[in-house]
Symmetry: C5
Subunit: 377 residues, 5 copies
């Protein structure tokens, strides 16, 4: 748990922070290299209903003859470390400069932008694992091509590739917009396992807070709320983006694909629904935690008060008879000390006082689950 939550937190910090690299006032369309970015690998999958070609591209010149050869060409660039390559792809496919800038600046919100030559889609992919970190995926959707830019290796597109290769379903007979849908669908469905894991952590925490709250749990609730906040921040614009894709009359989305995008949109709504539900539960849990801490304080103070209330008066009585007044100097000086039944009477008095107190505490419900008509405290 600790490992999970620590790494989860690490990922979140990165997600909020991530310094902008373009200096304020720079020319728009400026591509600024991130020295920590991965060196790209370029993978091409070109296909039609009856043919499929899959090539790992070493040099962009290998790409030229392949474009347009098949019904759909999907170029998947993994790693953003080579600005020159991105610029040349931009020229090759007439990608807009502002869109290319957004590919490299990794703090974009998911969005859809329609340019003259292509639609530009930004989404955020999350992979389930010990430390789920959102990764920006940028897509350029043209009539016959789809370009995807990923930050780093590892994605949730493998099932789509498998469907392409095996010609399962209708994917091979559809156009590039259907491929874009299939990838978006995979991205969005990838959030479900992450949310399920978070939901399980929340429920474990819920049980613990209710039964035995410990010191660190407020911080853990805060951490879960923080992660939910960031998931919401990733999913919310995703929802708008998919909705825009499914509704607006982008020329690059065919009517055939729209019902699928609406289905995809439904999934984003389900995700938001779960996130909001978890957030409200987590918020309610803070109240439970606080009242649980207060209730425990009451328990602690009851113990202290019972002990003090019983023994401080008794101690006072023993103190009285521990005084050293000179009984010889006056008959009024503590004659009790010389009485025959003095000690038993005092001990009895103390026992009676203690029992009386205990009965009182029982009556007001502080001990042994008592509490009759005086229980209003």
């Amino acid at each position: 748990m600790t490992v999970e939550s620590t790494t989860g937190k690490a990922s979140i910090k990165r997600a909020i922070h991530r310094k902008r690299r373009v200096p304020p006032g720079a020319s728009p369309g400026t591509l600024v290299a991130d020295p920590t970015a991965f060196q790209p690998t370029v993978r091409l999958i070109a296909y039609g209903p009856d043919d499929l070609e899959e090539v790992e591209i070493g040099d962009l010149q290998e790409l030229e003859p392949l474009i347009g050869k098949h019904a759909v060409t999907w170029i998947d660039i993994i790693g953003l470390g080579n600005l020159d390559l991105i610029r040349r792809l931009g020229e090759m496919f007439k990608l807009h400069g502002l869109a290319l800038e957004d590919v490299v600046n990794l703090h974009q919100r998911p969005k859809l932008e329609d340019y003259a030559e292509h639609a530009f889609i930004v989404t955020r992919m999350i992979e389930d694992g010990p430390s789920p970190t959102p990764e920006q995926v940028s897509m350029f959707l043209g009539e016959r091509f789809l370009l995807t830019f990923q930050e780093r290796p590892g994605d949730c597109f493998e099932p789509v590739r498998a469907r392409l290769r095996s010609s399962r379903g209708q994917i091979r007979s559809r156009r590039a917009d259907y491929l874009a849908y299939a990838l978006l669908d995979a991205v969005i469905d990838g959030y479900f396992p992450v949310l399920e894991a978070l939901g399980e952590r929340l429920e474990v925490l819920e049980d613990r807070v209710i039964t035995r709250p410990a010191d660190m749990e407020a911080a853990q609730i805060h951490e879960i709320k923080r992660e939910l906040l960031l998931l919401r921040r990733a999913i919310w614009p995703q929802r708008e983006m998919v909705n825009a894709l499914s509704r607006e009359t982008s020329p690059y989305v065919t009517d055939q694909t729209r019902p699928y995008l609406r289905d995809c949109y439904d999934h984003t709504i389900q995700l938001m629904d779960i996130v909001e539900t978890y957030r409200e539960i987590a918020t309610g849990l803070v109240d439970v935690y606080l009242s649980s801490v207060s209730t425990r304080l009451n328990e602690i103070m009851k113990v202290l008060t019972i002990i003090a209330t019983i023994f401080i008066p008794l101690g006072f009585i023993t103190g009285i008879y521990g005084m050293n007044f000179d009984r010889g100097a006056s008959p009024w000086n503590m004659p009790e000390l010389g009485w025959y039944w003095g000690y038993p009477v005092v001990v009895g008095l103390m026992a009676g006082l203690a029992l009386g107190m205990l009965y009182y505490f029982y009556r007001i419900g502080w001990i042994l689950g008592g509490g009759g008509k005086d229980s209003r405290r």
Copy 2:
């Protein structure tokens, strides 16, 4: 109460969690079997104004000759354990693949989708009982047929069936959309008793929190808030769905049925209204609970402080006269011990001190409901 709330909680957990079975990236329209799903029974009720036929279908081939024979054909499939049957029904009635996928994936939000051949309605039914669990009901509404898919046996449709059989009301002379309305109405009205039970639990809790808050009540308020959260999550999209049905010009809903759907929409608004009211009351109750706990802490600390404030100084006085200074060594060494009235004076002093303290506590309102002009503490 404990039994109720425990089971209630169990049902809610299931409702939030319910793992998606379709893997991310799978082809859309993929039906994935849930091994725990019920084996389906298929029941057909076909009727017109003057005739009614009710058959339990064993094999889908029995179905063929019955379709279209009557004005309206209602096929009710209870249990989703047989994907093959669902697929064959899909072919028979030209149901859309994405809709069929939603029938089997049991985490859909209530919604309305218009397809070319039919309207697709998802709703969530709740049955009153010891552990009310929402159950997904999917409906395909065509011009002359209605297909309903339920998760498991047990529903709130029996009164509708009775009305069909007895030809009570106008249901037999109406078309399939009226039947769909009648079922939706039954589903939505089914939430009222569940909410009423919850409202009663809330009021019991409210009385207890105000009069005598115990440890576990914060958790119980949290649990009620959680259940309300999930009821809201079930009802809210229901509201949109019914509204869409009553307003939009779906070709499968006739103008005659629209006023009935608007009535049904009114009921969903009433439900939301009650849920929101309960939620606000429950939220306010947390504050009452917290202030009640704080007030009790004050009471406890007052007891401790009164006891300690009276007896610790008295104990100190007895301590003084318990010291063993050698009175023989000096006339300044505790001469009081040898005075004639020494002991009575000290006892009187202590009694005076105690009474003074008690009067002070009475004046500031800590004991016996006192509290005059110094009462501002």
Copy 3:
């Protein structure tokens, strides 16, 4: 105060709860009798600019000849205990079945529904008094008639009747829609005194919470919030309903009456405004209450801490010189006890310690309003 608040609470419970009597799945338009409903009295006031007839109707047959005789016919049915009568009225005036069902099911939200033959208006009337309970009033507004159904005797329509009888104002020369407006206006203005009474209770509570918070006040704030919640729930849809009446082109509302309805709409906005303001004040009051309780705890703990901090160390010193070490066995065994100035020195030491402590507490501002540079605690 207690009486008022208790009854207020009772009324609210009833308002939330009120069990639905129509079983889920029942045929729409089913009228279900409430055995506790009042037996109806039917009162007719028919008038034109120059004539007015007021009759208490015993049998509906008496009604027949009176309908249409005057420009406007107002039939006021008080009590819903006779379903047969309601059904016959429905037939007489062609009232829609769904609307009639809403007349009898007393949990409707205020709303406006346009039917072919009449507009159907539901509103909630509140009467000032020791226990203000909202009562559902249903109105059917036709071109020349107005039917009003009240739950029980007692309403706020008497001034309108008086205006009719005395022909004061323009009411007699207007049509049925103006009468409907006059009644709605009376209903809405009836909320002002109830809110004023609630506001006074809130202010009394506010003063008390700020000056001297007692145990039960958190519960009383909760109760006021609860009542405001229910008033809001009654007023909010009223607002929408009046707005719909004043804006929409219902054929039964004339343009002449619209400005009056807009004025009436203004009043609902004022009501909502006051309710929201009170709700925010009540919510803020909970914070004041909580911090007041906490501040008092601090005061209590300061008293305890001052007493304990002064006397426990002093008690320890007396304890030391109360030990019985055998001074004869060693010169190191408590030689102080034999010193000439032993006792005065010890007493002086204790006095000095106590004074030092008191000065310290004064300096940190715990006693006598002190607190200079060390006051940051």
Copy 4:
């Protein structure tokens, strides 16, 4: 400060409360006298680009010949105590009955209403001073006249009058709508100093809560929140009203004046902005106050715990050696008392114990700012 806040509170109470004088069900347009209302003075300023006439009107008959003589006639009625005068003005200028009713009923929200003969504007004016109380100002804007009704003497229109008299700016050459704008602008700008004073009080409070929270500050924050609530309630509809004036095509507002009204609208947005910012700061301050109170409780309890933890065990040790077991009866009975080094050893033991405790408290950071690796408490 106290004076200010008390009076501020008083004004607010009046503002919320202010009983409606029109009884529910009264005929619309009924003017009901408020016996406490000021007797009106009527002041006329009539002007054109080149002429200006300023008259205090004693009798309405003096008014007749002046109307229409100049380009613009501004009649300013201060005091609403003479219903007859208001009625006659209403007839003279064809003012609508419902609008006149709103002039006299002083609980209107700021609003704009277009009638056939004039626009009707209600606004709320606030004057800076020891006790700023909102005052209702009603305006009737016709093509060539402006009527303003104020509750009582004292307004913020003097600079506008001065501009009229001195013919400063363009005001004399504009029409009545520009005069209405100038007055509204003065009313709205009059809120800025009131808000600035409130902001200063809030900042003083903020500093005090952070550095040294005292008992009454929660109540003071509550009071500021309350005043902000009421300012918001006054400003918010003002904003809508000015917006309606500047956007809608009221025939009484010329296009030339619209940009000025938009400027005025900007000011209302600024006001709302400041009010909302202050409200959020005040809300945050409650949290700071509560945590400050809690932190101080912790400090108090630390003092108590340190003292008790050190001295109660020491007291126990002295108690042991204060027991009177008969050393003669057995060699096991407290032989320590007879040891040569008995007393010094015990004293040393106690000193060591105390020092150990102090070191422990230092280590956990409770005293002297200590706290190394054990500081997690």
Copy 5:
């Protein structure tokens, strides 16, 4: 840290407060001098695709011949201390009087206003630094000119000037609207580093609150919330303004520039997103802080209660045997004192009692991380 936060707070106060200098009721378009305003320096950069002239203007007469000479003329006025200069510029470029008033009144919200001769843009610039203070920048955008008014020297426009001088990018070949975009973009991007610094402070605080909350941290969270509030207040209207510029058909913005403004709009959304996320985290942090303080109180009280519960009863026992009952007067008077094993038995009893207590506290989990089946406290 302290320095940063203190100055940050100072800047915020100034930002909220900043007294309005125009008295209520003043003529619109009145320019009121702020005696603390900077004396202006005027800098002109005029350019076309192939030429660029940069002049510091001493006297406005130098300006005349330069206007219109180049494709675009940018006049940058830094300092608002010379009203005469502003008025003369207003005449020269036909600037609207209301807009000029807004230039000088430094409490404007960012906004866009379209006048006949120019668009008027108000924005708020923030510069990263030890004390980031928002500064109002007003722009007048005409077809061939751009006027910018800054409050004081120091801006974030230097990179734009460098691009102009070096003819980098396309800026020199575009029109004045592109220059306006470039400046707005620089202004908006200038918020990112400020927010990043705030985010870092928040995270440092977050770590500290979770691991070791100290007294002042509630105030620090409040301060960060306050700064976020003010950043939001600056950014939010900026967002609307940029959106209006990019969407509306202002004649001074060309279609070519719109995509760049949309990109700029995206950045404002990102800023709002970060601000809202930080605000929610800060709000959650208050809860963590409060529960952390409560948990520490529990820890403190546990220490006190353990010590008191163990030693007060033991002290009572020693008190008993410290009583001075006269054993000679009666065999019942404390015969234990004379027993052979009296003292060892009593000491053993006390040791047993202490160990029992310790075991009990271990069992309920208060010490040494114990806590088995009794751990529910």
